[in-house]
């Protein structure tokens, strides 16, 4: 029981941290978008992701017990305890990076949720059922922008291709099954990453073709985000994300 809870909590972090860190990156853009319409759209995505985070972390806090809350989980873990993949913490270098990062995540997130709606864990199934509609829209949004930028002007094409060249090698990490993911899948709670991977590559192929982009052939980056090894970006993200909880500990806000 103890052990099962531990893997389940671990799994919730793997799920939640991707949404947390990507939501954080998108939230940095609020007020700085290329147009008012896209500014509002990106914030909608960010809000959807934070909504998911709260559901996952509230559940994880309940399983953890003690003083654990959604906020201690989001803001009081140490660097090595975050379990998201490298892709989502990549910075908002330009709008092509924002869209590329979003698309490469959405294309993974949607088929993941499509499996999780059937999870034996009712809470996870319920969160997935709510999130799946959000994710479907996110993928629609990011795909259409991939097309616009990939097949827009020469400059936009170059920027989009170069963003994708940088980001694509991070996508292999999604499918490297950790011990936790294996256990949770076998327990009927998690997802079959192999199935997701084939869907993923197909989505990428389709959208890249429409967007006039080439699928990068660079090899996978050797990253282990799900095991808590992160890029140099994370420390700076946490410096902001955790600032209040660290500077003014144990207060109510």
């Amino acid at each position: 029981m103890e052990n099962k809870n531990k893997s389940l909590i671990d799994y919730l972090l793997i799920l939640g941290d991707n949404s947390l860190i990507l939501g954080h990156r998108l939230s940095e853009l609020c007020g700085h978008g290329p147009s008012l319409e896209t500014d509002i759209a990106l914030t909608n995505i960010s809000l959807d992701l934070f909504g998911q985070v709260r559901s996952y972390f509230q559940y994880a806090a309940e399983l953890t017990g003690g003083d654990s809350t959604e906020d201690t989980i989001a803001m009081k873990r140490m660097d090595r305890e975050y379990r998201h993949t490298w892709l989502v913490e990549q910075p908002n270098k330009d709008f092509a990076y924002v869209i590329g990062r979003q698309f490469l995540f959405d294309a993974f997130h949607l088929p993941l949720l499509e499996q999780l709606v059937n999870s034996k864990d009712e809470m996870i199934a319920a969160v997935a059922a709510k999130s799946i509609k959000e994710s479907r829209y996110h993928l629609r949004f990011s795909s259409s922008w991939m097309e616009r930028l990939g097949d827009g002007t020469q400059e936009s094409h170059q920027r989009m291709q170069s963003a994708i060249n940088d980001l694509y090698p991070f996508t292999y990490e999604f499918f490297e099954e950790t011990e936790t993911e294996k256990l949770i899948f076998e327990a009927g709670i998690g997802a079959d990453l192999k199935v997701i991977e084939s869907t993923y590559r197909q989505t990428v192929k389709d959208v890249f073709a429409k967007a006039n982009l080439e699928i990068p052939t660079a090899p996978a980056r050797k990253t282990d985000g799900k095991k808590g090894i992160h890029s140099e970006q994370l420390g700076f993200i946490l410096a902001e994300l955790q600032f209040m909880q660290r500077a003014y500990p144990n207060m109510t806000w």
Binding site: S35, E37, I40, A41, N44, Y137, R140, F141, S144, R148
Partner: protein
Amino acid sequence: MKGNPIWEVFIRSKNGLEHRHVGSLHAEDAKMAMENARDVYTRRQEGVSIWVVESKHITASNPSESGEMFDPAKDKAYRHPTFYDLPDELEHI
């Protein structure tokens, strides 16, 4: 500098009601206009259906012609039920 087109947004707040004009936005094409409309105008469950139409496709009546356009309907009271005198005790009519 040519700005991008303006679109008018119409939203059906729930099935059974008509689409109503709620505002405008900018978008390069219909797909983008639809997505922008969803993101801008339905954040608080304002709608179940969206129409977008590029503003330039709307032909509007001219206020200076309001007289000939709308005034002639004013004296056609016979189009309204109260024009016809019937006894008060009469029911279901």
